[in-house]
């Protein structure tokens, strides 16, 4: 099956506060693929995501979604992306259901109460928590609500920024399974993380980012996941 490119960085360079933080970055992600962008703190991972969302403009090159440059038509690229920032940006004064309803109504997505329950089941948010305000939630619970929003929005592309940091191991396992399932159903996933183990578990391919530059690329094969040791060695060697 021939897969179409949905996410593409071409010689992308970004300057923040007069410092070049992403340098000549090129990679492409095909539909249904899970791509992990791995790197240490300050490597430029979040910056790269913001460029695709049109929140930061590129100084050189281009960040494209479905062939559309984010700098040119940010509204179009945003429409295609469900974005989970480092800390789930939801409203603490609203319950899970209220948050979901609000964001869906803004995105003009029609979802029945059943759909919402199903999504919340899918992310396995505890039943009794669903009508409580998010101010009483743990980070993992908030993350689940954010993913539920992303699922319900049915956006073809999912951006995840350090999605598993702060989650307990059980939650991480659940989360990874969910991502794999979404990718199987056709969602393209771009995940940025500094967690080597987590990345190797879900990603079809991993790009290693160091000081804004892509310094390595790893790919899973049909019968083997990406080797944690191999990636770890590459990651550690540059530190």
């Amino acid at each position: 099956m021939k897969k179409i490119t949905t996410i593409e960085a071409e010689n992308l360079s970004i300057t923040r506060a007069k410092k070049v933080v992403v340098k000549n970055l090129s990679f492409a992600v095909k539909q249904g693929e899970v791509f992990g962008l791995l790197g240490g703190n300050g490597a430029g991972k979040s910056t790269t995501l913001l460029a695709f969302l049109g929140f930061l403009t590129s100084t050189e090159g281009a960040a494209r979604i479905n062939g559309v440059e984010a700098d040119v038509d940010p509204a179009a690229t945003r429409r295609a992306i469900a974005y989970l920032p480092e800390s789930a940006n939801l409203y603490p004064h609203l319950s899970a259901r209220e948050n979901i309803n609000y964001f869906l109504s803004l995105a003009k997505v029609k979802s029945s109460a059943d759909d919402i329950e199903m999504a919340l089941n899918q992310v396995s948010l505890a039943e009794e928590a669903r009508d409580q305000r998010l101010s009483s939630y743990s980070k993992g619970m908030r993350q689940k609500v954010a993913i539920a929003v992303a699922i319900l929005r049915q956006a073809p592309i999912l951006f995840l920024d350090e999605p598993t940091s702060g989650l307990d191991p059980v939650a991480i396992d659940e989360f990874n399974r969910l991502i794999t399932k979404l990718a199987k159903s056709g969602t393209t996933v771009l995940m940025v993380t500094h967690d080597v183990y987590g990345a190797c578990q879900v990603a079809d391919r991993i790009g290693l980012l160091r000081r804004g530059e892509l310094v390595g690329m790893f790919e899973a094969t049909n019968d083997a996941r990406i080797s944690v040791d191999e990636v770890h060695q590459a990651f550690a060697s540059g530190a």
Binding site: L53, P74, A75, R79, P85, N89, L90, Y91, Y102, R133
Partner: protein, 479 residues
Amino acid sequence: MKTAITIAAQEWRYWSRTKLASAVALLAFILICTSVFATFSQVAKEKDTRETLQIKAEETFRDQPARHPHRMVHYGHYVFRTPTSLAALDPGVDPFTGTVMFLEGHRQNSATFSPSYDGAQAGPFSRLTPALTYQLLLPLVLIVMGFGVVAREREAATDRQLVTSGISPISIWLGKTLALGSVAFLLLLPMLAGVALSESNWSIGLGFFALYFFYVLVWVLIITAVSTWSQRTSVSLLILLSIWLILCVLLPRLVAGAAATAIPDTSQIETDMDVIMALRSVGDGHNSRDPAFDRLKANLLQEYGVKRVEDLPINFRGAVAQAAEADLTAILNEYADKRIAGQRVQTQLVKSYEFVSPFIALQSASMVAAGTDARTHHRFLREAEAVRFQFVQDLNKVHEHKMAYVDDINRNRDTDAARRTRVDSENWRVLRDFRFNADPADTRLERLFSSYAVILIWLMVFAIAGLLGARRLPEVNHG
């Protein structure tokens, strides 16, 4: 637009779930209602009292028994400035200028307060008028409720989430403005009720309310603009409080100070001394032998072809009283006009600063709309003076024509002469009714045009500022 309404509704939910916001809104509403109700009932009572007292004063004057007309000149009369309907919401200069005037011969008294007026009795609300509550306090309430409308989203990076949901930053700004605007409108309802209850002329009532509506809208736009530009809620609050302090407290003070020094209000004693000096040139109207009236005497003797004042067909003393009153009034009017002109320059000067602060613009315009501005008070002073001069001179004419000179000069020695100089109480009808009315609605509305223009310019400036802020809403870095 639908998106904006969804965002506005969401903001309402936030307020309803935040104790501080709900408490502030509720307190503000109670305070506003109290202020409207207190001032409304106080002014309504005052209006009743003054109308009654005015009629009573006229009846008392006309019911005086037969006596020498000059005694009526000194008996005097009261005129009252009855408040306009909208004074119930903006008493304007009323509490400072006085609203009653005692009219008598040979003097121009200043306006004082009616005997029933007791500022202390009305409590603190006699100063916290609805006008001031809306001009000064409402912006503060809106700041407390609205400083975070957009800054809060930006601080929590939920603005990115909103934008990635596919809505435009302009919708966010519009929704937030709609939310704060609807709160402002709710808080304006007590004033709308006050206008509807007090003012029967809908055009001026609407014109008055529109001033406040636009003013409050200016604040809504200031708040959303600053909140949109601010990276943090704390910064937004700080900036907004500073703006409030500058626009509503500092600038009005400075401008008032500038007005005071531009036209130094010469002290009362100084003016009084000047007037006394000037009046020396006028003869004493009670003394017909004052050499100041020699000329009048000569003219009259010649006119009637007689040799002695006793032979004149008129009472010379009455003629003297008239001439003296006319001369004296001319001088007093000159000083009164000077004083009024000075005050007028001051209010004009303050008004000319309306473009530096919407507060100054509204404060001046509100008094014009309510008919409680200094200019209206000045007209009251002039009309009251006209009544005074007319009844005094008419009494002096009675003095001139309805008794003999000989009787008049002998009335203290001869009881028969005294009886003959007493004129019938019918003559007290010379007193005209006095009913003071503020300028008609059309005139007031015409004078409001420039203020509307200024406030609308403020509206546009901050709408544009908000829109520009919204445009860079998602591009801002969150670190």
